[in-house]
Symmetry: C2
Subunit: 712 residues, 2 copies
């Protein structure tokens, strides 16, 4: 029932064809944009309007519950409370809504719009915009994230700016084709950075070969040039050639494309390895609804967060579908650098809020990014001018073998039982300028959910005078310097442990292991125990990791118990972690107050999503977002709980991180703790013995012989 009229995709007439949490379709995005454009603005305003983000406005949880109960699988009508007159079954869901952020290049005005999307077949009504503006609000004193289009314009602008060309000439660079201008946000250091201007302070690099677009230009940073661009008027507003640092010599090891790096040594003797599922995958996909083993959940995608996972539940036999979390996503990341010198001190990218993890997502390729039987999902986004773009194969869903799941061998009988672990992985990878980040969520048969971030890409480097070194980083090659930095990630987890949609009965407990005092029963001094403490309100719930007490947290249902009478819960088990290596007065912490602790807990509020506030770019307001919200000190003893887990890695660059950093991994685990009555992995079927491969001894000792004679 979907038709296209003059190239514009249109909506279908089918009522409730789209779940309230499905990401906006191409048609919906088009309608949302068109609705705003048709809202009676002057042509001047329309022309200067840019589209930062068009995203699903998520409905209230009760609407989602209604949808899941009656309109969409898993049809969990039993989860809805029975009203006085018994079940009242509505015959439709409220219309879907889009939230649109626009930026006016003329007025420097940022507006957030809400547009209701009617589910009628637009084409038959002679119009493709059937949206209705519900609200629009001018947001003062903010700058929305940068857009890829601005990157391109900014680079072009700087490259034709005469003083810049002169400065490059001074450094021996004549061919402006080789010059790379990477726009970076300015952050907020003083009133000069106020959002009354839309600023960018680009970093400059220069390639060496005009005919090699895949040359790694980051290998030659151009230092000492201060360029400040006003992106609103798209004009260089400050320029200074501050100091002369020679270009680093051409690094013969700078490149990473296969053509460039094939030399005497290579690793091409790797034999193919195939992962094959001859009967197809074990997951089932229906739209954005995914079922695998006893897990089910929905996925979504936003320009800012990328992948979102909704309504995670585990089907637990006669206990039915048991919720674990409403919504999981990465809502921010920050990369502060440790060098106090310019330009490095300005480098503390908020890659979600200043740029967009979803906007910068990669189109993935089978065999390269992903191996095995893959189900891809596309993502649809607006570009700066309101056109719809699609990132094909943006989200990857697949299964992986993950080694042994459990094993026991009985020493009396010699009999062993062993099971293979299979996991379901949903992921996407984004590129933000020089770095790439892969965000992976793994679901396991033993009830665990693992979040894993993979870091790779190219170091952000600077140039140094020959022979110069600096304590704040590593010399990677002659004249090429990589400052220390940290990568922080914020996972927002709206939990729902064993909660029906209308229930808000979770709490968080901190667990610390304590050594028992000597004396009493503890005569051998071996005793220790774990101590639980409820985090009673938000101000008590800003916590840090502490491996010295094996600290972790349990999110549990306040009313539901397992077979031994313990409250059912999930353990948040930190992985390796850190806090910012910055003094408390550090300027970047004004905007990133949420980095001050590894764990935050809040009472759910629908508009508290981004820990640095809605618009961290050039944000002048100290501690906006999470660190302000918790000052409300809302009760957490029995609530709708949102966990914010902040985790980081300190990156002291190695030569081996150049020219492309091998993947580093960091993450955390959600593991059931008394959620189940026993291991949910105990009933996994044994794998059949692999009789296909006979005992293999492939080695042909043709080239190498034992004994000294062959070498003499």
């Amino acid at each position: 029932p979907t038709m296209a009229v003059s190239g514009v995709p249109t909506m279908t007439t089918r009522v409730q064809s789209r779940h309230p949490l499905d990401p906006l379709s191409v048609a919906e995005i088009s309608v949302a944009v068109a609705t705003i454009r048709a809202s009676g603005m002057t042509p001047e305003v329309t022309d200067s309007m840019r589209f930062i983000e068009v995203v699903l406005l998520e409905q209230d949880k009760n609407v989602v519950a209604l949808a899941d109960a009656y309109f969409f699988p898993p049809f969990q009508s039993s989860l809805l409370p029975i009203t006085k007159g018994g079940h009242v079954i509505p015959n439709k869901l409220p219309p879907r809504k889009a939230k649109i952020t626009t930026y006016n290049k003329l007025s420097n005005e940022t507006i957030i719009w809400v547009v209701e999307l009617s589910e009628v077949h637009a084409a038959t009504r002679g119009s493709h915009h059937r949206g209705k503006i519900i609200s629009s609000e001018i947001i003062p004193d903010v700058q929305p994230p940068l857009d890829a289009a601005e990157y391109v314009e900014c680079e072009a602008l700087v490259k034709i700016y005469h003083p810049f060309i002169e400065a490059m000439k001074k450094r021996g660079i004549e061919d402006m084709e080789l010059v790379m201008v990477d726009p970076w946000c300015v952050g907020y250091y003083s009133e000069a950075d106020a959002p009354s201007k839309r600023l960018s302070k680009p970093l400059i690099f220069v390639r060496t070969e005009s005919d090699c677009p895949m040359e790694n230009g980051y290998a030659r940073p151009v230092e000492g040039i201060h360029v400040l661009v006003d992106l609103q008027i798209m004009s260089v507003i400050e320029f200074e050639d501050q100091k002369f640092v020679p270009l680093p010599p051409v690094d013969p090891l700078r490149n990473y494309t296969s053509k460039e790096t094939r030399g005497a040594i290579d690793s091409s003797d790797i034999k193919p390895l195939q992962i094959i599922q001859p009967e197809g995958p074990s997951f089932h996909v229906n739209g954005y609804f995914i079922e695998w083993q006893k897990w089910n959940f929905r996925i979504g995608f936003t320009p800012r967060e990328g992948l979102v996972i909704y309504s995670i539940a585990y089907v637990d036999g006669s206990r039915g579908r048991r919720p674990v979390a409403h919504r999981l996503s990465f809502v921010e990341m920050v990369v502060p650098y440790g060098d106090p010198n310019s330009p490095h001190y300005r480098k503390n990218a908020f890659d979600a809020g200043e740029d967009g993890l979803g906007k910068n997502a990669n189109s993935l390729k089978k065999g390269c990014d992903c191996l095995g039987y893959i189900k891809y999902f596309d993502a649809h986004l607006t570009n700066f001018t309101g056109g719809v773009e699609t990132i094909e194969n943006c989200i990857c869903l697949h299964e992986e073998d993950h080694g042994i799941l459990w094993k026991h061998k009985d020493w009396r009988t010699g009999l062993a039982e062993v099971r293979r672990s299979r996991r379901l992985t949903v992921s996407f990878i984004c590129t933000v300028a020089n770095y790439e980040y892969g965000f992976f969520w793994h679901f396991y048969q033993d009830g665990k959910i693992e979040s894993e971030v993979k870091l790779t890409g190219i170091l952000s480097v600077g140039a140094m005078h020959p022979g110069e070194t600096r304590k704040y980083g590593t010399m990677i090659a002659s004249g090429l310097y990589a400052p220390v930095h940290q990568h922080f990630f914020v996972a927002r987890m709206d939990m729902s442990i064993d909660c029906k949609p209308s229930e808000a009965v979770n709490q968080v407990v901190e667990v610390n292991v304590k050594v028992e005092r000597p004396g009493g029963d503890n005569i051998h001094n071996n005793a220790f125990y774990s101590e639980e403490k409820i985090l009673k309100s938000e101000m008590q719930a800003s916590r840090d990791c502490d491996p010295s007490s094996a600290r972790h947290w349990i999110i549990r249902n306040t009313r539901n118990v397992n077979r031994t009478g313990q409250l059912t819960g999930y353990r948040l088990l930190p992985g390796s972690n850190c806090l910012p290596f910055a003094s408390p007065e550090a300027k970047f912490l004004r905007r990133a107050g949420f980095l001050r602790h590894n764990l935050w807990v809040t009472q759910y509020k629908s508009d508290e999503i981004y820990p640095g506030g809605e618009f961290p770019n050039q944000n002048p307001r100290i501690n906006e977002g999470l660190s302000t919200w918790v000052k409300k000190d809302r009760d957490l003893e029995e609530a709708d709980i949102v966990l914010w887990y902040v985790f980081g890695i300190t990156h002291i660059p190695r030569l081996e991180d150049w020219p492309v950093m091998p993947v580093e991994r960091i993450g955390f685990m959600l593991m059931p703790q008394g959620f189940f009555n026993c291991s949910p992995a105990v009933d996994v079927s044994p794998n059949p013995l692999d009789a296909n491969h006979k005992e293999n001894d492939m080695y042909k000792p043709a080239a190498i012989e034992n004994g000294p004679i062959s070498k003499l």
Copy 2:
């Protein structure tokens, strides 16, 4: 050239057919045992002699170097120093030697023997023992590890001991077939535990079904019975029915065999997943020598440590074969429990030194324990009475795809380069009573070596009175209690970063990240840096992990530099870790002083292998081993460095760890740090795009339809 005479395998006549590091062959073990037996002992002594361990006595490093230089691949003659008259090439290697530990059941005497093994074809000489006893030494005041044969004898003994039968009757247990007696070492708590007796204090359990040998009997601990067995005379020497605790009710969730756990819910809908290498693996195996990508190393196996990895080196183009480590293995592990009550306070198993990680290794099965193209190695060991036993398929060698290795997408061109990570994995799994441990070493294309331990198996539980709980553990089921405990592992790493065999030019540096003080250049307060400190001598080198300073260690060559002039090295990157949650006076720390720190560094000494000393079982000597050796405070500024990394996990049992604990992982990483001039992974070939699978959308929405009608 190998022949068998009357069932006894014999040695080959070929000179230097076996590398000095190859584990003892079946023939060599037989010869070693026979040599001792033929050494003129009385029949009484021979009859009462038991064989605890027969293992290769590793030759000096210079013998190994000689072998690698001239007799065996990789034929690295250039690595040997040139003597005055040029290369002097010997025509043979010194004979191999075996180290044998015997225990005399009559005299309670432990002897360590060294037997030289002549490489002549024994069968042609009319005798199968051609070994020569080099030395034998009575070791006073020790108890060697327990043997599986003693487990069996001890259980049988207790089960026919009349007062024990009476005590079981009191608890309603009539059928002694159902009773399980698990012998545990007693440790050392007082003079009563002195090694003048060979003691075991078994734990008692009882199954419920006589016809189900795979029933999980650990689900019903029998409490309150004190049994002390003297294993030397194999007799119960103490018995007391101390207190009555009712048997826990039969737990319906206790079993884990597939027959027993298949119920209404299961996970049998998992589709097959195959890992196929149609052209075979990328590794080459020649005896115990393994080459893969640019890595090469040898493997070995000992009854105590299990897998040993020797002579690890990386072939780095024109720089040739660059050593990284001489020898890597797990030399001890300890599992202390946190409950001060009997019997739990006694539970702190030294699974290597009291039992044997190698002795208890599993015979692995393709498709179950291991997936993909597997090369297995067998292990040969003596049993208690000196017979040779073989654990078939004991060590697993295979390749794994490990996700993306590195990626970068250029935002200007949209072009992406991505590489898959392949790793080579060598592993074994052992079972020590209720628990299993998998020890994995992973080699990566980016120069990393990862050590990973997988923990699974069955919790060690106790019984409780109905309704009773205890702060030192978790109630797993009614009356069934799992005390908190920790698992500690000691990896011994004899390093050789860029060292020729004769060189001892490594050192260890500790790195801590520090926040820069305010002021000066640090006007934005963002600055931090990493501070290096050489660990100059052994007493300075007992160190703990400290995530708050991103602490890690670098093992580096003191003379070799990379292209930027830094000393070449490897980073020891801790994973999650802990220290014992015990007060310093804890009794078990007498024997496990090495658990007091996460890192120890020593100067290499050939007989310093086991951190708790040669015989930790019932060891009365406080702090024997590592914590005593370091008091020599040997110089570490330029030395042959041995790293001892001690890492642990604190296990607060969950219901989900029952009846079999899903695998937990813990480990650490050795990563090159300035060892290479750039990423050694940069030249890995791109994977071909996977065109085999077309866009898959397997979902058939047959069972589930959208919309409310289908449900009403």
